[in-house]
Subunit: 182 residues, 2 copies
Amino acid sequence: MTRFRFYTATTLDGFIADEHDSLDWLLDQPIDESGALNYTDFIGDIGALVMGATTYQWVLDHNESTGESWSYTQPTWVFTHRDLAPVTDDVRIVSGSPTDFRQELVDAAGKKDVWIVGGGDLAAQFAAAGMLDEVIVSIAPVTLGAGRPLFTKAYDLELREFDRNKAFLCARYDVVGPRPTR
Amino acid sequence: MTRFRFYTATTLDGFIADEHDSLDWLLDQPIDESGALNYTDFIGDIGALVMGATTYQWVLDHNESTGESWSYTQPTWVFTHRDLAPVTDDVRIVSGSPTDFRQELVDAAGKKDVWIVGGGDLAAQFAAAGMLDEVIVSIAPVTLGAGRPLFTKAYDLELREFDRNKAFLCARYDVVGPRPTR
């Protein structure tokens, strides 16, 4: 069954980008690409991608600065209220709730899973819609003190797997459910 | 040589207390008191404590609600600009920079270490004063989305040790230094 998986790097203090949406703190960290919870294995299980506008724009800007082109082979849904252009035919710019797109995403993923790329608020919206099964984090040995949040809602998780990958502490969690409000 | 060590529980998204300074999310988590990076072993290495006013007040309130008395046998420095009363003779209410109290803390710790109990801003002030050697976190399988920050400055760390302790992912980091500003 298709799982919805939030796979991301984060700082120890829970930021997935700095206040300027930079990943400088991340990109200079050593990682073993065949090590624990590595991206290559992960992306092999993924049939569809979901991301927010800031993440999408970051990828486009990053590609522009490096001369790379859009590298994802999976169909991608960009959730946004902004007026953005799809960079390839495999990118759909959409607005609405995650639920509106559940069947479409599940169908697109086929026997594989859906990767919620980020940001943290979109991942939390998916969780609130009952569409988040896993949170997989690569925790960089960094604090930022401020930045873009890993997650924006109160949830209980369960630790399922962990290991070191070079500089990173990597962990996979099942999403248990929203924490009861006080 | 005396080390300055920030030992704390945190949520996966980097909060050490919720917005109401509650630890409800923490206190219902299973932990093995003789397991990885456990408190008993840690506190045995500690000769002096440092905490901020909010942490101090939390301990007092917690003790009042449970009927416990102040349990720390080590001398404790409470850094605050508030007008607080020391609960025992072993508590000193102080204001000023960490540097002003370095020698006093080192002398009090003797051959042992100084525990920076919290909060995250006080730990970051100690780091900025060059008085933070280690960050040791017990990461609860919880997100809060908002609350009291684990740390308030941008620092590089280095992962030295990690393991699971029941619900928690525990990790010990050396403090490398402040991250270069952009």
